[in-house]
């Protein structure tokens, strides 16, 4: 069963706007990771947030984690056309010994 569920499935915004994607999960985790996939390519790791962290930044990316609600959000600020991609959350559930990926959010940045 899927651990991470992402919302929305698709998001289309204008260049320069902020994009927010959400991920919910079901069981306790060690960490949660966000990955990006350009069309027809492999996934690239963006950021990892541990269960004892609430917020993390990397450049234009901001990730929050709320373990009480079992949810995370990825915010991309000042979006660019090059940010067009699919974004996946992946959870490292306690005792699972593997990452479980959500179905992804397809983000389109319109110039």
């Amino acid at each position: 069963s899927q651990q991470g569920e992402e919302d929305p499935q698709a998001l289309s915004i204008q260049e320069g706007e902020n994009a927010t994607m959400n991920c919910s999960y079901k069981t306790s985790i060690n960490n949660l990771q966000w990955y990006r996939q350009n069309s027809g390519r492999g996934l690239v790791h963006l950021i990892l947030i541990r269960s004892n962290e609430r917020e993390k930044h990397s450049g234009r990316l901001r990730v929050t984690l709320d373990t009480s609600k079992k949810s995370s959000s990825l915010l991309i600020t000042a979006s660019r056309a090059a940010d067009t991609a699919s974004y996946f959350c992946a959870t490292d559930a306690i005792l699972a010994q593997k990452l479980v990926f959500g179905q992804g959010t397809r983000l389109t940045i319109n110039p």
């Binding site: 990771q33 492999g42 996934l43 992946a90 490292d92 990452l99």
Partner: protein, 115 residues
């Protein structure tokens, strides 16, 4: 720089053929993974390996097998390809430090079409 390579970007095979998908990583990672990715289903884990000659079934191992004879190479084998195995196949590797969930590095993917 970290690198995971897959033997083919695109592959077309016929039903019943035996298919080999190769993955090589140059990071001396002990853990390697094979996923398939289908629209609406996300990434699903087929098999993974924690070390040479070790393999573990993932969520959807039926119809697949794997081989890990060398640390840097992890092969996915479709014993008798079927049309429902048409998919994007992604290989990944991971450093074992810090537990099972640290960053995974992905190859570019192999898009397989079974006719």
């Amino acid at each position: 720089d970290v690198k995971v390579t897959q033997s083919s970007r695109y592959l077309v095979k016929r039903t019943g053929e035996k298919v080999f998908l190769e993955c090589v990583q140059d990071m001396d990672h002990e853990n390697m993974f094979w996923y398939r990715q289908d629209p609406g289903l996300g990434l699903r884990l087929i098999y993974f390996s924690y070390d040479v000659k070790m393999k573990e079934k993932g969520d959807i191992p039926e119809g697949y097998s794997v081989s890990r004879e060398k640390k840097e190479r992890f092969s996915l084998i479709l014993e008798s390809a079927s049309t429902n195995q048409t998919s994007m196949y992604l290989c990944a590797s991971r450093s074992p430090s810090g537990g099972a969930g640290e960053t995974q590095y992905f190859g570019p993917g192999t898009r397989l079409l079974v006719l």
